[in-house]
């Protein structure tokens, strides 16, 4: 009985967990550092790439996906796949609307306090923001 169990439960050494956590902290520092360097439009891609690498470390080692039954990895991947499909199809719509219609960003409420030229002069701004 106990011999069978050692085959089914993969007990990782403490060292693995500590190394993974150290790697996660190092990559957190890297992603903060990189965000202050102008990569000319590639900042978002770099941030997502680093986050994805960290997510792989967490799921493969902390969540044991690398060692457990592959059906758990399958269920997890299906979830990520459908979030990807969901976002990609939505973006096809919203990013291309300007090709057909004349769409520009405009205030939802033009008379909102945040769009007033000089909020300090306005009594409405005084009432709403309190401190000014």
């Amino acid at each position: 009985m106990s011999q069978e169990r050692t085959h089914t439960d993969h007990i990782l050494p403490n060292k693995t967990y500590l190394l993974v956590a150290a790697a996660l902290l190092v990559f957190t520092a890297i992603t903060v550092r990189v965000s202050f360097i102008d990569l000319g439009g590639y900042n978002a891609i770099a941030a997502i790439a680093i986050a994805t690498f960290k997510a792989l470390l967490v799921s493969f080692f902390f969540m044991h996906l690398l060692y457990d039954k592959k059906i758990y990895l399958f269920v997890f991947s299906i979830g990520l796949l459908f979030v990807g499909v969901f976002i990609a199809l939505t973006m096809f719509d919203t990013l291309r609307r300007a090709d057909i219609y004349d769409v520009t960003a405009e205030p939802i409420q033009k008379d909102a306090v945040i769009y007033q030229e000089n909020p300090a002069d306005s009594t409405r701004a005084d009432e709403r923001s309190g401190q000014h």
Binding site: R5, L12, A105
Partner: protein, 215 residues
């Protein structure tokens, strides 16, 4: 051992053995985690849409988030994931005391995260950097800056709620560990609580760069 005839209390009647029971419980947990990914997926989609519509506003608004507090909170959550993993490992090798200590540490890290989040929220509420019609702050250039804070509060708020639920679940498995209910033979509830906790960490790993570290 006469397990075949007189099965242990933690093995339910409708499972033939512990391995089958554990595999079923974990599959159920992963399917629940899948629904959690889809739940947050909706918010990530909203983020993608509004950021693509207002790239400059997002850039201006995100500068009002505190990168240092965000970084500290990321480190706190990673540490809590580590202690959670170590707590499960301690149970796997039948070390009850270290398991209790690691679970307590996980709870402490979770509480630290929420305290830091409280200070961040309190500062934003004070300045009026609030979602939708409650937004009164005037220092951000760009169209509709309140949208950024709507998304910020929706995403971090739902995530914070998950931290709170995680703390309740971890407290529950902690009490049961103290009561000697778990051993290397049976620790599935702790393992599933761990899976949930790591997912909450995983979502923050994406929230942090997307909200605090834009370009």
């Amino acid at each position: 051992m006469s397990l075949a005839h007189n099965h242990p209390a933690y093995l339910a009647h409708h499972f033939s053995d512990m391995e089958q029971q554990k595999a079923s419980a974990k599959l159920g947990m992963w399917i629940f985690l899948l629904t959690e990914i889809l739940l947050f997926g909706g918010l990530f989609c909203a983020y993608a849409v509004f950021r693509s519509w207002n790239p400059q506003m997002f850039l201006n608004a995100h500068k009002h988030l505190n990168v240092i507090l965000g970084t500290v909170n990321t480190a706190v959550l990673i540490s809590s994931s580590l202690t959670m993993a170590l707590a499960i490992r301690s149970l796997q090798v039948d070390k009850k005391r270290p398991a209790i200590i690691f679970l307590l540490l996980t709870l402490a890290f979770a509480a630290t995260f929420l305290v830091i989040k409280y200070f961040e929220y309190a500062h934003k509420i004070h300045l009026g950097q609030l979602p939708g019609k409650f937004y009164t702050y005037t220092g951000i250039e760009g169209t509709n800056p309140h949208i950024f804070f709507s998304i910020y509060f929706a995403m971090t708020g739902l995530h914070g709620l998950h931290i709170l639920v995680g703390m309740i679940v971890i407290s529950w498995v902690l009490v049961n560990t103290v009561k000697d209910k778990y051993s290397s033979e049976y620790y599935t509830p702790v393992e599933n609580a761990g899976l949930y906790w790591h997912l909450v960490d995983l979502i923050w790993i994406y929230l942090f760069p997307l909200l605090y570290l834009i370009g």
